[in-house]
Symmetry: C2
Subunit: 189 residues, 2 copies
C-alpha cells in the first residue's frame, strides 16, 4: 500500500487552502501553472470563447482574482453582456484541475489609475494596440503598439464556486461555493 | 537582427498546416500540449464552463477532432442544448495559442460500438462511474467504477474557425474559417 503524497487532497478544508495557495503562487511565480489560466466567456450569440490570460492578483479572503486586458478586446464586450466567466487551471505537478466560476467586474479609467501607474513600461505595450485587438489587418505586422491608459482594464473576478479535481491513486472531486462559506462537498469524479 | 526560428508563423498557409500538425501530434503523443485541450461549453443558464479533455482523434482533411466522455457528464447536457463549443490549447514550446470554435455532434450507442471495442480496459474505467460524474457523495471515495458501453460517448467536433496567436519577436494573429476554405486572414494581436 502506498501513501498518497498529496494528503491535502483528502480533506475539504486542506484542499480549499491548497487551491488558493496555488493561485497566489501563480501571481508571484511566472512559471507556476496558475500564472496562465484559461478564461472562458460567452459571446452575444451564446457561444463559448476561451483564451489564455495572466493572473495578476489573488485575494483568498475576498475570494477575488484580477486579470488585466485591453478594454477594446472581445472578452470585455462579452463580459459586459454576460458577466459570468469560467477560469480553468491544470496543474500537472499537483495533478490538480481547478475550475472557477466567477462574476466579473470590468474596471477602467480613474478606478484603475493607481494600478496603471504600477504597470511596467514593457507590459504597457499590451494595452492600446492600433487597430484594436482582433481587427482584420492586411499583413501580419500591420499594427502598432501605442500604450494608452484609456485602453487598460482590470477584470476583477469574484469567485462564486470552485470545482476541484485531484487525480491521485484514487481520484477526488470537490465543489466549494461562496454561498455556503466555502465549506465544500465531495462529488463523484 | 535575429531570424525568427518559427518561420511558419509568418505565412497563413504554413501557420494553418502547423496548427493541424500539432493537433495530430496531440493524438499520438501523450506529452504534446495538444493532448489536453481545454473544452468550454455553455450551461442552460448561459454561463461558461471549462475543463480539461483528452484529444483522441484529429482529421485535418475533414476538420474534425474527437473527444471521449461519459454520456452522463454535464458537458454532454450542455452540448445537447448548445452544440457550439470552444477548444483552447497553449503550446509553450511553440509559443502558440490555438483557439477553436466547433460544432459538436454527440455520438453514443451503436454509432460508437466499434470505437468502444478499441478502448483499452484501463481507459474504460472512466465511463460508467456510479453515481454519475458530478453527483454529490458523502465521502470522497464513495463511488465505484463500473465500465459501461452505454455511458461511453464520442464528442465529434466539427471545427468552424481557428483563432491562432503566435508570440514571437513580433506577435502574429490569424483567423481561419471553414466557410472560406481555411484561407485565413491576419488580425491585430
Amino acid at each position: 500500500m502506498t501513501t498518497d503524497p498529496q494528503q491535502w487532497a483528502a480533506d475539504l478544508s486542506l484542499l480549499h487552502a491548497q487551491v488558493w495557495a496555488r493561485l497566489i503562487r501563480g501571481v508571484n511565480d511566472r512559471h507556476a501553472p496558475a500564472r496562465h489560466p484559461t478564461l472562458a466567456t460567452v459571446t452575444a450569440d451564446g457561444a463559448p470563447q476561451a483564451r489564455t490570460v495572466v493572473l495578476r492578483a489573488a485575494d483568498a479572503a475576498a475570494g477575488t482574482l484580477d486579470l488585466h486586458t485591453d478594454l477594446r478586446s472581445a472578452k470585455v464586450t462579452e463580459l459586459m453582456r454576460q458577466p459570468l466567466a469560467a477560469l480553468h487551471i491544470w496543474d500537472s505537478g499537483a495533478h490538480l484541475q481547478t475550475r472557477i466560476t466567477a462574476r466579473v467586474d470590468i474596471l477602467s479609467g480613474p478606478a484603475v489609475a493607481d494600478l496603471w501607474s504600477r504597470v511596467p513600461d514593457a507590459s504597457r505595450q499590451s494595452y492600446g494596440t492600433q487597430p484594436a485587438p482582433g481587427q482584420p489587418i492586411s499583413a501580419a505586422l500591420d499594427y502598432e503598439k501605442r500604450p494608452d491608459a484609456n485602453s487598460f482594464a482590470v477584470l476583477r473576478c469574484h469567485v462564486q464556486a470552485l470545482d476541484v479535481l485531484h487525480l491521485g491513486p484514487s481520484h477526488r472531486r470537490a465543489r466549494f461555493d461562496r454561498a455556503d462559506g466555502w465549506s465544500g462537498i465531495w462529488l463523484a469524479p
